[in-house]
């Protein structure tokens, strides 16, 4: 099971997208779990649940550098979700991008 975790300031709007991504994954029977959390808890959650991919909502893109620095030892790919994909709640595209990220990271 691969875990893709989404983070924004309260984990509210990312949870909408996470739900849609989970639906897409289930539709295609992919062993993927998508969840959303508040960015404030990122370290604790990463430590406890070991996600395979971290996506930040575009509204907290200013936290990207800091997040990368914080988690540099974890070897987890981190990206900011494209704002247009995010706005259109294009779950399929975001999921695909996450898969590409995880594939690249594995190599």
């Amino acid at each position: 099971m691969k875990k893709i975790f989404l983070f924004c300031s309260q984990g509210m709007s990312t949870s909408l997208l996470a739900k849609k991504m989970q639906d897409v994954a289930e539709k295609h029977k992919l062993p993927i779990e998508v969840k959303a959390f508040s960015h404030g808890e990122i370290e604790g959650i990463v430590e406890k649940l070991n996600p395979d991919c971290i996506l930040l909502g575009p509204q907290v893109k200013y936290l990207y550098d800091e997040t990368v620095k914080k988690l540099k030892d974890c070897n987890i790919p981190i990206a900011v979700i494209d704002s247009l994909d995010y706005g259109m709640m294009d779950a399929e595209k975001v999921l695909k991008k996450a898969i590409v990220l995880m594939k690249k990271n594995k190599k």
């Binding site: 404030g40 509204q59 936290l63 704002s83």
Partner: protein
């Protein structure tokens, strides 16, 4: 112009969003938020905004039934300063990677050290002193001192810890025991420090640190926060940050959060005591009377998008955004329309909340809508209900809907401009496929996971 603004705002957001102390204060409040909401429900039950409610229950339950509920509200927002102290201490230790629970405990003790724990009274049967903590010190007017003490004590505690000023136990001692000994010297340094501060203040005219912070810092800040001007700044910056794709309130609340919290709780305490409500600009006021459907009051925009626009992109986005919008979530609009860096929409995006704010302020001053009682509701409470519950008046709910409709009129010409452009784009659209489109979920093999 936009470039210049972005140059100024981006670093500001970064600085505020990364400052460990401000993050700790913001997240520290999060710990008390669910408790405040539950406490407010009890308060609402005791004072439900229907006439005859109190008399009805007094007949059934007898005099003094409301005291049962008051106990719960005292145990929640009545001790808001203690909760903030604990929460901020915990969150700050988390930010600086210290011992979280030990830090929170030290912060709490330090705060209490600065408080009078002996209270003199005069009664019918004579006078005397009792050892007690007065609610006036642990409620809303202790919040600022609590925040300061919390940050300072955790800082000192973890500084001593890092210096290695700890008692080290030999191997074989259980870690829980070793940890408690390790906290011994840092704790005593912190406690010693606040002991001296307390004594120091007794020699001044303020007598306590509490009175000092309250007069020097809290009262002026509260006074400034409780003005239309400050609220305009708050609302405009919130919109501006969103315009650059940054979560506006997450940034502005690092500064305005504590002030609004105090103003809100003051109203709540007055409401509970049956006194006139002191403040217009509480948290619920700004949540429920300036923006509908998230930053920029975009619920109006979504309604116009659904009813009057023709381009596929806008109508689809409208359908997608209406339900989250009712609950105050509008990121789909912000990034999908987009509002981010869109020079057409920035105008109504700033104007609509400002108009709402100004009109609501006048309406409150004129007595059309009552002051907010300070009852804490989740910011996701839908329009109509939120106005009613926040003030106890149905008129306030109707007022919200009136402003929502007004917002539709302001947004209309702007979104129509964008709609025309998108319609044209869609007619000329060419499909461009990216590398992402090439992946098919069916082609993924089990080895990919």
């Amino acid at each position: 112009m936009f470039k210049l603004l972005e140059k100024l705002l981006m670093p500001a957001a970064e600085k505020l969003g990364k400052n460990k102390i401000l993050i700790a204060i913001r997240d520290g409040f999060l710990i008390s938020t669910p408790l405040l909401i539950v406490g407010s429900i009890f308060l609402l039950l005791a004072n439900f905004p229907i006439s005859g409610w109190e008399e009805f229950w007094t007949k059934i339950l007898g005099e003094g039934w409301d005291m049962w509920f008051v106990n719960v509200s005292r145990a929640t927002f009545g001790i808001i300063a203690l909760l903030s102290c604990l929460g901020t201490g915990y969150a700050y230790a988390r930010e600086i990677k210290g011992d979280k629970i030990q830090s929170a405990a030290v912060a709490l003790v330090s705060f209490i050290i600065l408080m009078p724990t002996c209270i003199s009274f005069e009664g019918v049967k004579g006078s005397g002193t009792i050892s007690a903590l007065a609610f006036e010190y642990v409620g809303s007017n202790g919040i600022f001192l609590a925040l300061i003490v919390s940050v300072v004590s955790v800082k000192i505690f973890n500084w001593a810890y890092e210096k290695g000023w700890t008692i080290k136990m030999p191997n074989g001692v259980p870690p829980a025991v070793a940890d408690s000994f390790a906290a011994l010297i840092p704790s005593s340094i912190v406690i010693g420090f606040f002991f001296l501060i307390r004594i120091g203040f007794e020699f001044t005219t303020f007598e306590t640190a509490h009175k000092f912070i309250y007069t020097v810092l809290q009262m002026p800040l509260q006074g400034i926060g409780n003005t239309l001007g400050a609220q305009m700044v708050y609302s405009t910056f919130g919109s501006l940050f969103w315009f650059f794709g940054i979560n506006g309130p997450a940034v502005t609340n690092t500064i305005f959060g504590p002030i609004m919290k105090v103003l809100t709780i003051e109203n709540l305490e007055a409401f509970q005591a049956g006194l006139p409500l002191p403040n217009i600009f509480t948290g619920p006021f700004s949540d429920f009377f300036t923006c509908y459907g998230g930053g920029g009051s975009t619920l109006s925009l979504v309604i116009v998008m659904m009813l009057f626009c023709k381009s596929k992109r806008i109508t689809q986005l409208g359908k997608l955004s209406i339900v989250p919008g009712i609950f105050g979530i509008n990121e789909p609009i912000i990034f999908g329309l987009p509002i981010v860096l869109n020079p057409v929409l920035i105008v109504p995006f700033i104007v609509v909340p400002s108009v709402n704010l100004i009109l609501s302020t006048f309406a409150t001053n004129l007595g059309i809508i009552p002051y907010t009682t300070g009852v804490a509701l989740p910011w996701t409470t839908p329009i109509g209900f939120s106005g009613y519950l926040a003030t106890g008046s149905l008129v306030a709910g109707l007022w919200q809907i009136g402003l929502l409709i007004l917002g539709c009129f302001i947004y209309y010409p702007f979104i129509k401009m964008l709609d025309k452009k998108y319609l044209k784009d869609e007619e000329e659209a060419t499909n461009s496929e990216s590398e992402i489109e090439d992946i098919s979920f069916e082609d993924l093999s089990a080895e990919d996971f």
